[in-house]
């Protein structure tokens, strides 16, 4: 089921205007910022209230750092530094 190209572009433009935020990758811009799965507080910025990982088009990360971020979040979930889903959580 192949979507014709023009359809996708339209949708993307609509979407971009909805958010209209200048997007840049925080981690590329600042070389000191390290993505660390041990730092629960920093990772909290990148998950929603329900505990879902925020997509790259919202955070503005580049693909490399978004992938690193995703593995970091998944690892942090394993050691219970951030939740898998919000229903499990009583803090916050």
């Amino acid at each position: 089921m192949h979507k014709p190209k023009f359809d996708r572009r339209e949708k993307r433009d609509r979407f971009a205007s909805k958010f209209g935020k200048k997007r840049y990758c925080r981690f590329c811009a600042d070389a000191d910022l390290r993505i660390d799965y041990k730092d629960g507080r920093a990772l909290n910025y990148y998950i929603t209230e329900r505990g879902k990982i925020i997509p790259r088009r919202i955070t503005g990360n580049c693909s490399f750092h978004q992938r690193e971020l995703t593995t970091a979040i998944k690892r942090a979930r394993i050691i219970a530094l951030i939740p898998f889903t919000a229903t499990q959580v009583t803090w916050r």
Binding site: K11, F15, K18, F19, K21, Y37, K38, G40, Y45, Y46, T48, E49, R50, K52, I54, P55, I58, T59, R75, R77, I78, I79, A80, L81, I82, P83, F84, Q88, V89, T90, W91
Partner: protein
């Protein structure tokens, strides 16, 4: 020798002797496999993000060490069999390590981290300010 990082969480209601025994065992395993411990930390009691075995808190231990695959296998087996740890995770950091250099790096990172936490973090722009979960679900419904 590869560099690994292992974090394990123990039950909050264990007693002192049990946990010292466990930690000693961990140290011995690393030594036995001719690895070296680069850094060892106890993060203390922390609130867990979700209930693990009905506990809401756990005591976190962090080890940074060199070793090989047998070391890791042995260590994880010990953590699994012992009933004090409730979660563990091992991550490989590097394939080749210069021990002294790495030790210094870690010690410095430690000091830098302490210095940073003293300075209040500036308010970063909130990523979520114009984002709501509902808009994501709509998008998914469109794509379905």
């Amino acid at each position: 020798m590869r560099e690994y990082e292992t974090i394990f969480v123990t039950r909050p209601d264990g007693n002192e002797s049990q946990s010292t025994q466990l930690l000693e065992r961990v140290d011995k395993i690393i030594e036995r496999h001719e690895g070296t411990i680069l850094q060892k930390k106890n993060w203390g009691r922390k609130e867990l993000a979700y209930k693990v075995k009905k506990y809401n808190q756990g005591i976190y231990h962090y080890y940074n060490y060199t070793g090989d695959t047998a070391t890791v296998a042995d260590l994880e087996r010990t953590l699994r069999l012992n009933d004090l740890p409730i979660k563990y995770l091992t991550v490989k950091i590097a394939d080749k390590v210069d021990i002294e250099a790495r030790r210094k790096e870690l010690a410095e990172a430690e000091k830098a981290a302490v210095a940073m936490s003293a300075v209040p973090r500036e308010k970063e722009e909130d990523i979520l300010e114009d984002f709501s979960e509902d808009s994501i679900d709509e998008e998914e419904a469109d794509n379905a």
